[in-house]
Amino acid sequence: MEHTVSYLGLIPLFPLLGALILGVMHISTCTGKPFSEKLYGVLGCIGPVISFIYALIVYFQLKGMPADSRFLIHDAFTWFSVGDLHITMGFLADPLSSLMLVFVTFIGSLIHIYSVGYMSGDENFGKFFSYMNLFLGSMLILVLGSGPVVMFVGWEGVGLCSYLLISFYCKDTDNVLAGNKAFIVNRIGDLGFVLGMAFLFWAIGASGFDYLSLRENSHLLTPGIGLVVCLLLFVGACGKSAQIPLYVWLPDAMAGPTPVSALIHAATMVTAGVYMVARFSFIYAHVPVAGAVVAWIGILTALLAAIFGMFQHDIKKILAYSTVSQLGYMFAGVGVAAYSAGIFHVFTHAFFKALLFLGAGSVIYALHHQQNIWKMGGLKEKMPKTYWSMLIGALALAGFPPFSGFFSKDEILFSALASGHTGIWFIGVAVAGITAYYTFRLIFVVFHGQPRDKKAFDHAEDAPAVMTIPLMVLAFGALCAGFLNLPGIFGGNLNVSHWLAPSLVEHHPHTSLTVELLAMALTIAIIVTGIVIAYKKFASGAEEPEYTGFAKFAYNKFYVDELYNTVFVQPYKAIGSVIWKSLEPNVTDIHVKVSSWLYRKAGTGFKIFQVGYVRVYAVYMVIGLSIISLLLSQSLN
């Protein structure tokens, strides 16, 4: 086929190879003297960078092709075949995946470079890079996979890596528990994904189970089945992208090293759910009900997480809730069938969230692993580079024009309004205000006012260049990424949306210019209000407040974790322990034990026949011979 390019398979291969090499290197030296960090660092970064270069090549190749046939395929090999079903380990690059590809590899590479600085001195330096490479490789498989099955491989890989990385500091039990939580919650989502996939296959998968053939056959899907498939897939997306009710793992996932949080939140993992929904836009487009469900859950998650975010005092937790909240926006976007807007928000969010996390990482690094914002303050003078880049990130996150977040967020809100989801639009605008508030609360408390911890403050300084340069690159991205998709009213022509159009099934509703401008103005006004309130409250050095009433309730995340604990976890544990203590040894195990005992006895009994005399072996042969002869001569008649 003319669209076949073999290097497509190489893109995920490089990070995976890197992971393998680093892993082997790490294991081989885990008892002795490790290799130098420079070596690890170079090896760790080289894979993502090469992948990035290839991603660019893919992008430009696609760009050179006519708009309606922009896709590249590479079937590496037939993975397995059962009957007529042939699952190939195939890769597909179309506008959607190529966009994801470019920014995943780009931001991934930056985070890798940053990590060289951040992780220096850690005893498990090699292991860290091995995991990171594996993570990125899995994400690339997820993005590039030519069908749901291959996507699932990456999906699981990403889940596994997040578990490994979240519990990276595995000496501390809390971290391991956080990893466990992420893994288990993700499993619930995966179950939904697998079920959805199975339904999809059962319905229309018979003549090919990759996106292109599924897309062709999507009209065969009955609305009922379509709804089931959509909702099940969305459960999977909820798990991975931390939506209600499965968002609980993401804030805990802050237990991992900060670059990991950046990688999870910005470029990889959490965006997988959005990507997946966009990938299956050809199904979602047929089932508006499912879309509405997605949109509502998304926007409610955005609201909830934003409220939680207002009251946290761990710098990373604030950012974590902002991620959950922004993911909610993305789902609201894809839910109202504005897939390109959702993906565009993924794109811009990747820049400013990576920026904010890496900035936060710099702060934490400078303050020797202090994460409580009420122990910081006045860092602006000490860490100017970090301050300015984080400020840009914060403005982008708050959606202040003309930073990138503004365009993408506005696009989503406007799509919601235009498609008649006024409620979603309304909540969205409110959330935008809250977002602005808590973002600037963070900025003001950390960087302005008086230093609250004098000792730590004195030692603080900007991180080494290997960490600040990625920050600056990302800041530039956060500043400018929005202009790639300039809406019509600013003289742009929605480049990204047009680019993505062939991969997606969506329709752009039209409304009057006035409505659009009014809506935008309202949003901006709310955002500014949020910032101003934050400035009033925190700019000149507020003290750590005592939370009471609603605030305390929100600070404790509405006690959702505790609720889950009592409703699901404890009963489950109780049942488990009952089974373990009484049922198992007496009812089920007894069979196993008896049969294993019998089995062993039989084996020992059989040993007697191996007497060791040649003659006897010959006798066995002859006995066998004569028995078969007897049977054969019976059958001769």
Partner: protein, 169 residues
């Protein structure tokens, strides 16, 4: 008629030789019985107009291989004390006969399924050296060639296992 008498004589000799082989205690006696069997087999080959095989059976088998075996027996200087006691060998033999009976009857049944035909008179050339040689080199060249490899392997093997070995290192 004469041929049938000959067949009877040879076959009785052959079977007796075989029984002797499995019953004698000393390998030397067994080997001699085997020689008897082989010579009578050669006679049977002649009766079946296999002239070349008759000669080869006498020369190679009864002659060369058996003398090799007997040579080894002599070479090892097997004394009666060294031999296994095998007091119960007749019992074993009897048991073996019982076990083997089905195999024997199976084979017998197979053989009796062959249509009984009167032997036709064959042309002069059947089984002669020239004729067999022609068949051998025209149709059966490949087995003939690879038998040479087989003999080489046996040669190497005998040297490796029983010959003097120069130890490297």
């Amino acid at each position: 008629m004469f041929a049938e008498w000959l067949f009877a004589a040879f076959s009785i000799l052959a079977v007796l030789g075989g029984i002797g082989l499995v019953t004698f205690r000393h390998p030397m006696n067994s080997a001699m019985s085997l020689v008897v069997t082989m010579i009578s087999l050669a006679g049977l080959y002649a009766l079946l107009s296999a002239k070349l095989i008759f000669a080869i059976q006498l020369i190679v088998y009864a002659g060369a291989i058996m003398s090799l075996i007997i040579f080894i027996i002599m070479f090892l200087n097997v004394r009666t004390e060294d031999l296994p006691e095998e007091k119960g060998r007749f019992l074993y033999l009897f048991g073996g006969v019982v076990v083997l009976a089905p195999v024997f009857f199976f084979l017998k049944k197979i053989i009796q399924s062959i249509p009984a035909t009167k032997a036709t008179i064959l042309g002069d050339g059947f089984g002669g050296i020239k004729e067999v040689g022609l068949v051998l080199f025209k149709d059966w060249l490949l087995p003939f060639e690879i038998v040479s490899i087989l003999l080489l392997v046996a040669l190497v093997g005998a040297v490796v296992l029983a010959g003097k070995r120069r130890m490297s290192k």
